[in-house]
């Protein structure tokens, strides 16, 4: 219903690039081969056989030449990733992150676009605030940003936001992320109202009567540590309930950050009914478990909490089978002093934009658990779920690309972060796979320092 662009980013000069002999991998286009790729005026102009294309002049009076980056047949060129779930903390919590630093982190992680959550201060729940945020994004964002305003005013779960007006102002959909819509009756009204305004309803699933007071997964580790646990049924019962509501109203819902086997089962059952549901999973839930919380490192504290190994394996299987549609980082920055407190006092959340691909490549692709092509598919699939065009490597498409050195090994956080916050659950780990260059909406959004040495001339 909205005529205006849903994604909005800052002004950047369109890229002029010749990517010579890069290994192009675009699973949807069926490309997995070495090519030369020319980016002209921010669009993919042509793909050629490796070594066939030459630099073209461009610019005023054709005085400049396209930048040449040599992939040596080794560097991978992928469609830029899409992250449907990040916290950019603006407005109100700019000490944690802002539009510029958050989208810089996204670009550094190979993401060409992100969707920002509304649990800011004030909550993104009105059209004027959405307008001002989009204006700010048009000035500051390194990669295009879409916004999901709140389902209920102030995330209070009591009164719907003006969803139709918000959609006209560019809302991609709605979410009360950070909190569940606890009342089934309230959620049902939002699902019904979706028939008027459209837009995906994204759901953070948590029954607060089951999770209250909890700081980590309920199980052997929480019992040993004497920390109140959050049972997996706090999530899975709400997934099942809301899937049934969506089925009844024939509404479109998206389940955020699945964390346990029972939730994967609930989504699979909903899909088997033909209900219009989709789901995302975060790298930390695919790679870490409650065992990683034993040391009470507050970077391991997030909602939903890291669960058991069996849950982790079920999430991987769900991602492979397509029950889970896409990967989302749930990038949740917090300032150092906010996280440098006892575990039970610490806020929930881990940053993740800068490590998402490398962590999953290291933890799932290298051991042969997930194909690289499947991972790329799942890291770009979020766009279509929000009715946005999927980045594609084909002539004529806008340049949404990420160039990756799959052999590069680095220690997460060793040279700091692009994000304003450093609360990354993968910090200190050796990761393999480094983003060298990201093009978002036709412009260069990130360029790794190492690129000068390995590729650029």
């Amino acid at each position: 219903m909205s005529a205006i662009e849903s994604l909005i980013g800052g002004p950047q000069p369109p890229a002029e690039l010749l990517l010579r002999d890069v290994h192009v991998l675009d699973p949807r286009a069926g490309i997995d081969a070495r090519h030369d790729v020319r980016v002209r005026g921010g669009r993919i102009a042509e793909l050629g056989a490796p070594g066939d294309l030459e630099r073209e002049p461009h610019g005023v009076d054709a005085a400049g030449e396209q930048e040449l980056i040599d992939g040596g047949g080794r560097l991978r060129l992928l469609p830029a990733f899409f992250d449907p779930h990040v916290h950019l903390r603006t407005p109100g919590q700019e000490h944690k992150e802002d539009l510029e630093s958050g989208t810089r982190a996204a670009a550094a992680g190979g993401f060409g676009a992100v969707i920002a959550m509304p649990n800011t201060d004030p909550v993104l729940d009105s059209a004027p605030l959405l307008r001002s945020l989009r204006d700010a994004a048009a000035r500051e964002a390194r990669v295009p940003v879409g916004f999901l305003p709140a389902i209920t005013r102030g995330l209070q779960g009591e009164q719907l936001t003006e969803m139709a007006e918000l959609r006209q102002e560019g809302a991609l959909g709605f979410t009360d992320d950070g909190r569940p819509v606890h009342s089934a009756g309230m959620l049902r009204k939002a699902l019904q109202y979706q028939r008027l305004c459209g837009g995906v309803l994204s759901l953070h699933e948590e029954d607060p009567t089951l999770s209250r007071g909890g700081a980590m997964h309920e199980g052997a580790v929480s019992a040993a540590l004497g920390i109140t646990g959050i049972p997996t049924v706090a999530e899975s019962t709400m997934v099942a309930r809301d899937a049934a509501l969506a089925g009844y109203e024939d509404a479109r819902v998206h389940f955020q950050h699945l964390s346990c086997a029972a939730s994967v089962d609930a989504v699979a059952a909903a899909k088997a009914h033909g209900w219009r549901v989709s789901a995302e999973v975060c790298p930390h839930h695919l790679l870490l478990t409650e065992q990683d919380v034993r040391g009470l490192d507050t970077r391991m504290k997030m909602y939903p909490p890291l669960a058991t190994e069996a849950d982790r394996l079920a999430l991987i299987e769900g991602l492979r089978a397509g029950t889970i549609d896409c990967v989302a980082s749930d990038h949740a920055p917090h300032a150092r002093d906010e996280k440098e407190v006892p575990f039970e006092q610490a806020p929930m959340g881990s940053t993740g934009l800068e490590t998402a691909f490398a962590a999953l490549h290291t933890g799932l692709v290298l051991p042969g658990i997930v194909d690289l092509a499947l991972l790329v598919e799942r890291m770009t699939a979020g766009a279509a779920l929000y009715e946005l065009p999927t980045p594609s490597i084909a002539a004529g498409e806008p340049a949404n690309l990420t160039l990756i050195d799959l052999d590069a090994v680095w220690v997460a956080g060793e040279h700091g972060w692009e994000s304003r916050s450093e609360n990354c659950c993968f910090a200190g780990r050796r990761l393999q796979g480094r983003v060298l260059l990201t093009l978002a909406a036709g412009a260069i959004a990130h360029r790794d320092r190492a690129l000068a040495m390995v590729g650029a001339r």
Partner: protein, 316 residues
């Protein structure tokens, strides 16, 4: 040992060494002059974020018996109420260069955290519902004196396990000393997964007569924000240790303070089977032994705390 954070960090030999040292200090306690010069010139800082008269008093007495200087810092009425973070409080107090900090907080893992922020020896006097290691050590000491040896004994810990740091530390300590531990209590107060500590779980006291030692936990009204049992009356009907349930051969323990008529009936508190007063006496000598272990003797200079904890390991 640099710190006493958790019983998990201790081997049986460590526990035995501390308990034996406590036994030597116990002889001094019976003398007319009870003070030893061992820790003269050392400073022990008691930093308490929770109300506690017994534990704090016990630590204070233990430090004074060893001639250490004691400073008490209680969270209420201090900068903590003005919003100062734990880290800032610890860094500020560290400026006084305490040799040991005795720390009680309502947060699991706080003692471990503080040990990274300053160079003092940290004694965990209770971190949330996690651990209370000196309580476990004094209980081992008491039982050893009472039973001779703990090896092979069957110990039942009864009551509100979920909110009890004493239960966690004691399960670990009693097991280290060779006992078999059973946890019993209402299903709402036994955390899911606790049996992975290696103990048995029971929801009734039907088999209580198999125990050599019955360790009743306090029903902690002050920690209960929700309804965990239908009523104290019903709790008492099913789980109270009373003259009918306690067999003559059994030893009765309790960490105090006792709710008479709730977890224990008055008659068993006053019975000769109860060693509750002995536990209190043991508190001082065991805490003397802990301070001695951490502070006395020719020790290497304390290493500076690590600048930044590094998450280790590779991915799965």
């Amino acid at each position: 040992m640099n710190h006493l954070i958790s019983i998990e960090d201790l081997q049986r030999a460590d526990i035995e060494r501390i308990v034996s040292q406590a036994e030597r200090f116990a002889e001094v306690s019976d003398r007319e002059i009870k003070t030893l010069p061992t820790l003269r010139g050392r400073m022990v800082l008691n930093l308490f974020y929770e109300a506690s008269t017994r534990t704090r008093g016990s630590f204070e007495l233990a430090a004074k018996r060893l001639s250490a200087d004691v400073v008490n810092f209680v969270a209420s009425g201090s900068s903590v109420e003005k919003g100062e973070s734990l880290k800032d409080t610890v860094l500020t107090l560290s400026a006084h260069k305490p040799d040991a900090i005795v720390l009680r907080t309502p947060w699991a893992g706080a003692a471990e955290l503080v040990s990274r922020w300053c160079s003092a020896a940290i004694v965990n006097a209770g971190d949330g519902k996690h651990e209370h290691p000196t309580q476990a050590l004094l209980d081992v000491y008491t039982l050893r004196r009472h039973l001779g040896a703990i090896d092979g004994a069957s110990i039942w810990i009864v009551g509100d396990v979920a909110h009890s740091r004493v239960a966690r530390s004691n399960v670990l300590a009693f097991q280290r000393m060779g006992a078999r531990v059973t946890l019993a209590g209402p299903p709402t107060l036994i955390p899911r997964g606790i049996e992975e500590l290696g103990c048995e779980v029971r929801y009734t006291l039907d088999e209580l007569d198999t125990a050599n030692v019955v360790y009743a936990l306090r029903m902690q009204h002050e920690r209960m924000s929700e309804t965990w049992v239908p009523s104290m009356r019903e709790y008492a009907a099913w789980y109270q240790i009373n003259g009918r349930r306690l067999a003559p051969h059994q030893t009765l323990m309790h960490p105090g303070p006792v709710n008479r008529g709730v977890e224990l009936s008055g008659e068993v508190v006053d019975s000769p089977q109860a060693v509750i007063t002995a536990q209190v006496q043991a508190g001082v000598v065991v805490r003397m032994a802990v301070l001695y272990e951490l502070l006395a003797g020719a020790r290497e200079p304390r290493p500076a705390p690590a600048a930044e904890p590094v998450a280790g390991g590779r991915l799965a």
